[in-house]
Amino acid sequence: MVRPAPWESEWIESPRRVSVSFGGAQLASSTRMMLLRQHGFLPVYYFPAEDVRVDLLVPTDYVTESPYKGIATYWDAVVGDRVAPCAAWSYLDPKPGSPDTRGYYSFDWHSMDAWDEETERLYVHARDPYLRADALPSRRHVQIEVGGTLVADTRRPVLLFETGLVTRYYVRPEDVRMDLLQPSETFTLCPYKGRAGYYHVSSNDERYEDAAWQYLQPLPDVAAVAGHLCFWNERADTTIVVDGEQLEPTPMRRFFAVPAPESARRGRPGERQHDFSRPNGRAEGPPDTVVDLAVERAGGRTEDWVTL
């Protein structure tokens, strides 16, 4: 039996009990979950049909087409007077060579009211069992300029290594020109790190919007970044110098583009869509979904996060 390397695994069994709720009903709950991991997309849970309340699903004409998996068929989730349009999908006839997802349903994360693993609430998207986030104290010398002004200078940063992503340099507030920062309304959610609040940075009579962020109460994975400030390595207005060497700017990840471009808005039901144009880091989803799943600027359910 050939076991693929972890970074190649795609359609894998998950031992976790996962439940999804909508309109006061549990639409699906299973201890026989599958997780679909695809390169460049967020991981997605699939439920075996036997563990899905198919009586609460109403067929639609809507489909999406994946060049890899084939055509996904969609259902509305209907509970009492609440309707989640095209919130459930299944591949009735997956393309040869793609994972055999026949007999499984999945649900659009944000159309649902709640997702749970065992008895804990899940946020934003399923966690990938092959990713980790390590926040490590470091002695590297980190200097950060925004709009030409030195706003952070530290020799005690916390480096955040998230598998496959660019290294982030978190700086304690004592080493940041906090007098140049003003809190922004923006926040983002991450299932590995928690809820981040953003700051604008004032520099040379300009205001740089959402140029820094901070996890005040991070999830335990990255506890060491609590209260620290972090700056973009993706923005032309920001330069990060580590041990005297300026970091090469990295391109903005596709699903950081918020709001989604107009071109990504879904067409009419029945119209075939190509999933690779979706801006939100997922292959499937209902029409008119323009929330960003990896980084949401004003979505999510903040009340849930306060208690974390």
């Binding site: 693929p4 976790r16 069992p129 490590l136 660019v166 506890a223």
Partner: protein, 256 residues
């Protein structure tokens, strides 16, 4: 350097897959308070079935502390390894460093790198964080999740633990483990065994032996008294080896 530009080479065959990956972490290996190797350009060698191993560029190794040894080994996937003894003042770590000066065909260029046996070094660091029990695998995740599943542990026909509030630990490519509050365990049947193990993700585990009637089962359970900050839920919970008890029942069925 962006993640996508970082060097990542895979090779191997149907039985064994390997990858040689640039690590963004600064890594140090210390023996007798001397940094024997310290690099911001370390590589991580992944080999299926093994924990990943750090390889240091030669220029980041204190080669003046190395003495060539006679020891040699051969690996079908990596080539012929040569070994060195690391000597720092009166401390000697025999055959603790190795290299593949002529890597096997189809293998990435391992020749310019040296690796060190984990246990032979006194201390390892990623950035300023002391490592325990091995390098962290960036593709390995440990999620501890509270559950309401009904868990019973039977040993010698006796229920030694029963709970409806276990903490389930999902570790990549490992069986699910059921961690139980000591309040839900018959701890009067347990005694510390003195055994301990180290895990890079969960910290130092202490082991417990159980005596039921006239039968004692050594190291039947373990606990993490002081797990690292990323695993706060595990602190003080007890976990049983399914292989050493009669059965661990989950919702009335034997644990898979």
């Amino acid at each position: 350097m962006s993640a996508s530009e970082r060097s990542f080479t895979t090779w191997g065959d149907a039985e064994t897959s390997l990858a040689f990956e640039a690590s963004p972490r600064s890594v140090r290996a210390v023996l007798a308070d001397e940094v024997v190797a310290g690099s911001k350009h370390a590589m991580l060698l992944h080999e299926s079935g093994y924990a990943p191993v750090y390889y240091f560029p030669l220029e980041d190794v204190r080669t003046d502390l190395l003495e060539e040894s006679e020891h040699e080994t051969t690996c079908p996937y990596k080539g012929e390894a040569r070994y060195w003894t690391v000597a720092v003042r009166d401390r000697r770590a025999e055959n603790a460093a190795w290299s593949y000066p002529r890597p096997a065909p189809g293998t990435p260029d391992l020749g310019g790198y040296l690796a060190f046996r984990w246990e032979a070094m006194d201390e390892w660091y990623e950035e300023d964080d002391r490592l325990v029990g091995g390098a962290r695998d960036p593709y390995h995740r440990v999620d501890a999740v509270w559950s309401d599943r009904h868990v019973r542990v039977l040993l010698g026909g006796v229920v030694v633990a029963e709970t409806r509030r276990p903490c389930l630990v999902f570790e990549t490519e490992a069986p699910t483990r059921y961690y139980l509050s000591p309040d839900d365990v018959r701890t009067e049947l347990l005694a510390p065994s003195g055994t301990s193990t180290a895990c890079p993700y969960k910290g130092m585990a202490s082991y417990w032996s159980a005596t039921v009637g006239d039968r004692t089962v050594e190291d039947v359970a373990w606990s993490y008294e002081a797990p690292p900050p990323e695993q706060p839920k595990l602190a003080g919970l007890l976990c049983f080896w399914p292989e050493r008890v009669d059965v661990i029942e989950i919702d009335g069925r034997p644990a898979p």
